[in-house]
């Protein structure tokens, strides 16, 4: 299992009849196999688009996206289906989008296995393994609609893990859960990651982003900053991200503090680069 994720200068443009929306504009991203990372950003930042591309649901407009050795820029429809069924598992924010309400827990886990053509013996093993992973082993015949929303989201993780994917993508998985259920869901994601599966969670939930080693911030369709925590819960160290084209996004609070805008002065020193306002802090000389 090698769930490395590599995106270089990723661009996604959505075209409707007469409007073009640039959702991603040259995003770079590297996630190592087995890493658990959080992706944060305001709505409209491009993080959901990134998830859709990594999931093989959308094709990039330009740039490269590689997931577990699959080049997602040039997949035929048949290969795309194979990728989705063998390599990525998905958990969506809305529990209704993850499980079929009238099917039982066991039937829901069987769906992705059956779509891939897995045989009975494998289906039994994967059912037992995934339900144990999320702690639902006592409830195989329970109908998914009768589960609590927390258990239903855990079932979604079991369904996503059914085909032993190299990468698990979770889009705001705790948004509709209370704190206790969020904690259980996050613990399940940590277990998945500890087993070597790469886990990417888009989230607004500070509980989740404070518990992962690396938080990636997306702003205006680019990776703009990273926070690294050596130990869970510790104060993170913040980094900005320099993309392949040499671009850097300055944190908005830095820009505001110095009143930066338009042109700035760059000064290369021995071990640093300084960014100064074009005319110093007082504005143009008079």
């Amino acid at each position: 299992m090698n769930g490395r994720i590599v995106c270089r200068s990723l661009v996604k443009v959505f075209k409707t009849e007469d409007v073009e929306v640039v959702a991603l504009q040259g995003l770079d991203l590297l996630v190592e196999p087995g890493e658990l990372v959080a992706v944060v950003g305001a709505s409209g930042s491009g993080k959901s688009t990134l998830q859709s591309i990594l999931a093989g649901l959308e094709s990039p407009t330009a740039g490269t996206a590689e997931v577990a050795g699959w080049d997602l820029t040039s997949l035929s429809e048949r290969r795309r289906r194979e990728f989705r069924l063998t390599t990525v598992g998905l958990v969506w924010q809305q529990t209704a989008a993850n499980v079929v309400p009238y099917l039982t827990v066991a039937e829901n886990v069987a769906v992705p296995l059956l779509l891939r053509g897995a045989r009975l013996r494998e289906r039994r093993v994967r059912l037992a393994d995934t339900l144990e992973l999320v702690g639902l082993q006592e409830l195989p015949d329970e109908r998914s609609e009768t589960l609590s929303s927390g258990d239903r989201q855990l079932l979604a993780v079991a369904v996503a893990m059914a085909n032993s994917p190299a990468v698990l993508l979770a889009d705001e998985p705790t948004a509709e859960l209370d704190t206790e259920s969020s904690g259980r869901l996050f613990a399940a994601l940590q277990t998945v990651s500890a087993a070597g599966v790469t886990v990417v969670v888009t989230t607004h939930d500070p509980l989740v982003s404070a518990s992962v080693e690396r938080t990636i911030t997306i702003r205006d369709g680019r990776t703009s900053a990273e926070t690294i925590r050596r130990t869970a819960g510790a104060v993170g160290e913040d980094f900005a991200v320099l993309d392949a084209a040499g671009r850097l996004q300055l944190p908005p609070e830095y820009v505001q503090a110095l009143g930066l805008g338009g042109r700035v002065r760059l000064v290369l020193d021995e071990d640093r680069i300084e960014v100064r306002p074009e005319y110093g802090r007082r504005g143009p000389a008079t």
């Binding site: 999931a55 649901l57 429809e77 989705r84 998905l90 969506w92 809305q94 209704a96 989008a97 993850n98 499980v99 079929v100 309400p101 009238y102 099917l103 039982t104 066991a106 039937e107 069987a110 769906v111 059956l114 779509l115 015949d141 329970e142 109908r143 609609e145 009768t146």
Partner: protein, 226 residues
């Protein structure tokens, strides 16, 4: 086809007990298109869930094709649902990462339908709901009305003789509601399906053979013929 006797369902709401269904008797014949209507909280969804073996009654009995659902074990009940009943819900219940065709394929996979048969049946089911060209679309690339038609295709792809639909048009505009009501009507007329549909929607009521009104868990009216 369906027979319910003294069907009762109580729910525990904290310390209070709520009687959602208070001893309903109901017979539905094969090939009937029955609409169940009434205020919200009247017991419509509770009744439909019990008829479909999605829930268990507190008292009374339901039989579908002579099989008593109340005494079946959980896995046998799930097998009967897969085999005999197609379900349609107000929120569609489609899996977001599967295409329309893959969603429709799900019941066939669960029934272990041989591969040679599957594609043609999925295509036929999508064509029957007017979505023959949309099989490759993901649910969020379809309108609400189209998603509900995909859900109907999924409910009928495995040739279940009974379709149970819970408020299938409540999230749809009136044009889509007409389309859904017409599709259900055609399925009953041309394929001999039995359909039980809960609704508030006069468009759906107008297409039915028989309307049953529920209030406070009781059947208060049962009218045949439009």
């Amino acid at each position: 086809m369906i027979s319910a006797r003294a069907l009762t369902r109580r729910f525990q709401d904290g310390r209070h007990e709520r009687l959602a269904l208070a001893g309903v008797d109901l017979d539905v014949s094969a090939g009937e298109y029955v609409v169940v209507y009434g205020r919200s909280g009247a017991g419509k969804t509770t009744l439909l869930n019990l008829l479909g073996g999605l829930d268990r009654p507190t008292g009374g009995a339901v039989t579908v094709d002579g099989v008593d659902l109340t005494t079946l074990a959980g896995d046998r009940l799930a097998a009967l649902r897969r085999d005999r009943i197609g379900f349609v819900f107000q929120t569609f219940g489609l899996l977001a990462e599967l295409t329309a065709a893959e969603n429709v394929e799900v019941p066939l996979r669960l029934l272990r339908t041989p591969a040679g048969n599957r594609d043609a049946r999925v295509r036929a089911a999508l064509e029957r709901v007017g979505l023959g060209s949309r099989g490759r679309h993901l649910p969020d690339q379809l309108s609400g009305g189209e998603q509900q038609r995909v859900a109907i295709a999924r409910a009928l792809v495995a040739d279940a003789p009974l379709v149970l639909a819970d408020e299938p048009t409540s999230q749809l505009d009136s044009a889509s509601s007409h389309a859904i009501a017409t599709i259900l009507r055609e399925l009953v007329d041309t394929r001999g399906l039995t359909a039980v549909v809960t609704t508030h929607d006069p468009i759906v009521v107008a297409a039915a053979d028989r309307t049953i009104e529920l209030d406070d868990g009781h059947v208060v009216a049962d009218r045949s013929g439009a």
